[in-house]
C-alpha cells in the first residue's frame, strides 16, 4: 500500500513526468468521469468523501461545487495557488513535484461543475513554477488530455495560469477574483458567494491546490475510502507544513488526527538545540497562540479538536515557538505582517493594524507601560467582527491570545 496520497513524488521520483504519472494511473480518473459519469455524480462522490477545503476555511468541497448556479453560464473553476500564509509551503511542493495530479484535480472539478475554462491563480513569487505549469499544460494538450472533444465526447477543457504580483490578500477568494479581473485585490461583500457570482460575475468554484490534488484519488478509490481516513470530524489526509524552532522542518503528509506531539517530536525531530517548546501556532501567522503543555501536545490535529484548544487548525501550518524568543517579539512579527498585507478596504483592519504596529514596537523596545499592553488588547478587540474578510480576524488572533496566555512575557517587556 502506498504511503502517500498527495506527496507521491516521495515514492515515485519521476512522477512530475507525464509518462510516469500515467503509468501510475494518472488521468484514468479524469477519463472515467468524462466518459462514464454525469457531472453531478462526480460531485456526489466528493461529498461522500468528506473532503473539506485545505486553504484554511475547511468548507466541504462537494457542497461548494453543488452550489453552482445552473441558470447562469459559463461556469469557471479557479485554483487558488496564492499560497502566502506565513508557515505554509505545501501547495508549492505539490505543484513542483506532483503537478499532474493537481492538474488532473482541476480537470475533474471543471467537469463536475460544467466549466470549460479553468484558471490557476499563482502568486507572483511562483514565477518559475508558473512557467513549469504552462509547459505541463501544453504537454497535456499535446497528449489529448486537455483541449477540444476529450476522449471522443463533446466535453472540452482549457486550463490557463494567471500570475499575481505579491499580495497576501489575494488568497481570499473574492479578492483573488478581483485581482484576476485586473483590479486591486480587495475582497467583495458577500453574499453573493462565488458559486453564484464569481469571476466576471459568473458562477465560479475557487478551490485550494491541495484540495484539488485530493480529487483524483477520491474518484479512483471512492468517497467511502477517503472518508475512512483521518478522524470522524475531519476526513482524509493533510500535508502539514512544519516550521519554526524544530530540527527537521518540512512538509509531512499524515492523516488528520495525528497529534501535535507526533508531528513535532517524531517527524520534526524535536525542538532546535533541544530547547523547550513554549507555544504552537497551528494555522500560520493567523493563529491563536496555543500554550504547548501536555494537553495541547496530545491533542489530535483535526478541526474540532484544535477548536477545543480555543484555536484553529486552518491550513495546518504548524509554527513551533521555543523558549529562545519572547511572545511580544512573536506578535511584533505577526502584526507587521498584517499591517503590510491589509488591503486597506475596511477601516478597523487598516487603521487597527497600523496602531497595533506602533504600540507593539513601543512594548518590544521596552518603552511601554501596562497601559500600553491593555491598549493593544483593546485595539485588537475593536477589530474583531468588523471587517469584510477574515484578514482582520486573523490579525488579532496572536495578539489577543499572546497577551491573555503569556502575560509574563509582557510584564518582562515593560519593566
Amino acid at each position: 500500500m502506498a504511503n502517500y496520497i498527495l506527496l507521491r513524488h516521495r515514492e515515485i521520483p519521476d512522477i512530475h513526468k507525464l509518462d510516469v504519472y500515467r503509468k501510475n494511473g494518472g488521468f484514468e480518473a479524469f477519463e472515467k468521469v468524462v466518459t462514464t459519469m454525469k457531472p453531478d455524480e462526480v460531485t456526489e462522490i466528493v461529498k461522500t468523501s468528506g473532503l473539506r477545503g485545505r486553504g484554511g476555511a475547511g468548507f466541504p468541497t462537494g457542497l461548494k461545487w453543488s452550489f453552482m448556479d445552473k441558470d447562469n453560464w459559463p461556469h469557471y473553476v479557479v485554483a487558488n495557488a496564492d499560497e502566502s500564509e506565513p508557515g505554509t509551503f505545501k501547495d508549492r511542493e505539490i505543484m513542483e513535484s506532483n503537478p499532474f495530479q493537481f492538474l488532473e484535480g482541476v480537470a475533474i472539478a471543471s467537469y463536475a461543475v460544467g466549466a470549460t475554462e479553468a484558471y490557476i491563480y499563482c502568486r507572483g513569487e511562483f514565477w518559475e513554477l508558473t512557467q513549469v505549469l504552462d509547459e505541463k499544460i501544453a504537454e497535456l494538450e499535446e497528449a489529448g488530455l486537455l483541449g477540444d472533444k476529450l476522449f471522443g465526447t463533446d466535453y472540452s477543457l482549457r486550463i490557463y495560469t494567471h500570475l499575481g504580483a505579491g499580495a497576501y490578500i489575494c488568497g481570499e477568494e473574492t479578492a483573488l477574483l478581483e485581482s484576476m479581473e485586473g483590479k486591486r485585490g480587495q475582497p467583495r461583500l458577500r453574499p453573493p458567494f462565488p458559486p453564484s457570482f464569481g469571476l466576471y460575475g459568473k458562477p465560479t468554484v475557487v478551490n485550494n491546490v491541495e484540495t484539488l490534488t485530493n480529487v483524483p484519488p477520491i474518484i479512483t478509490n471512492g468517497g467511502e475510502w477517503y472518508k475512512n481516513l483521518g478522524t470522524e470530524d475531519t476526513a482524509g489526509v493533510k500535508v502539514f507544513s512544519l516550521s519554526g524552532r524544530v530540527k527537521q522542518p518540512g512538509n509531512y503528509e499524515l492523516p488528520f488526527g495525528t497529534t501535535f506531539r507526533e508531528l513535532i517530536y517524531e517527524h520534526g525531530g524535536g525542538i532546535s538545540d533541544d530547547r523547550s517548546i513554549r507555544a504552537i501556532m497551528a494555522a500560520g501567522a493567523s493563529s491563536a497562540l496555543i500554550v504547548a503543555d501536555d494537553k495541547a501536545l496530545d491533542t489530535p490535529m483535526d478541526y474540532a479538536s484544535v477548536r477545543d484548544l480555543d484555536a484553529d487548525l486552518g491550513s495546518a501550518s504548524i509554527i513551533v515557538i521555543d523558549d529562545s524568543v519572547s511572545i511580544d517579539w512573536v506578535i511584533n512579527k505577526t502584526i507587521h505582517f498584517f499591517e503590510h498585507e491589509s488591503c486597506g478596504k475596511c477601516t478597523p483592519c487598516r487603521e487597527g493594524n497600523y496602531w497595533m504596529g506602533h504600540i507593539i514596537e513601543r512594548i518590544h523596545a521596552g518603552q511601554a507601560s501596562q497601559n500600553d499592553v491593555e491598549l493593544l488588547h483593546s485595539v485588537a478587540k475593536q477589530i474583531e467582527n468588523k471587517c469584510l474578510c477574515a484578514l482582520g480576524e486573523f490579525s488579532i488572533q496572536a495578539v489577543m491570545t499572546g497577551i491573555e496566555r503569556f502575560p509574563q512575557d509582557f510584564e518582562a517587556a515593560i519593566k
Partner: protein, 166 residues
C-alpha cells in the same frame, strides 16, 4: 507611438487570448511585468501605453502598481534581493542574515549598492519557511528562489553577477 504594443505584439496577443474577449483588462498584471523588463520598474509612459492597449485609464493601472509589491515605481538595483524575514523565517535566523548581509554590502535595508547592482529588501512570506534563510531575486526578467542561504553563499552569488556584468 505605443512601444509596448509594438515590441511585444505577439506576446500580448497570446496573453489577452487567455481571457474572454470582453475581459482584456485581466491581462494587465502580465503587461505590467512586461513593462518592467527593460528598466526593472514601471514608467509613466508604460502606464499610458498599457492603459491604451487594454482600454483602461492610466489611473486604474497605476493603482495596481501601488497595490502589488512586485511592481516598482522607482528604479532599484539590477538585482533585487528580497529576503523573507517573517515569523517562521525569523525563527531560523532570517533577521540576523538580513542585517549581516546589508552590513557586508555597506547598505541599509531597502537601499541599493553604489554600483547600482543590488538592492536588498525585507519582504513578507515567500512560502519557503522550512528553508530559511532564503530570498528571491527579482530582475526585469523574472524571479528566482534561493534557499538555505548563508551570508557567504549570498556574497558569492553577487560576485557571480558582477562577473556576468563584465
Amino acid at each position: 507611438m505605443n512601444k509596448i504594443a509594438e515590441n511585444y505584439a505577439d506576446e500580448i496577443q497570446k496573453i489577452i487570448a487567455k481571457y474572454p474577449a470582453e475581459q482584456k483588462r485581466s491581462a494587465v498584471m502580465s503587461l505590467l511585468y512586461i513593462a518592467q523588463r527593460e528598466d526593472g520598474y514601471v514608467t509613466k509612459q508604460d502606464l499610458n501605453e498599457i492603459a491604451e492597449i487594454l482600454e483602461m485609464t492610466p489611473t486604474e493601472v497605476v493603482t495596481l502598481v501601488g497595490f502589488y509589491t512586485l511592481y516598482h515605481e522607482e528604479p532599484g538595483g539590477q538585482y533585487r534581493i528580497q529576503v523573507c524575514n517573517d515569523l517562521p523565517c525569523a525563527l531560523r535566523g532570517a533577521d540576523e542574515f538580513l542585517e549581516k548581509l546589508c552590513e557586508n554590502l555597506g547598505i541599509q535595508i531597502g537601499e541599493t549598492t553604489e554600483d547600482g547592482l543590488v538592492t536588498v529588501e525585507g519582504v513578507m512570506c515567500l512560502a519557503a519557511c522550512d528553508k530559511a534563510p532564503m530570498f528571491q531575486v527579482q530582475t526585469g526578467e523574472g524571479l528566482a528562489y534561493h534557499e538555505d542561504m548563508t551570508v557567504e553563499s549570498t556574497l558569492e552569488l553577487i560576485e557571480d553577477w558582477k562577473r556576468e556584468e563584465k
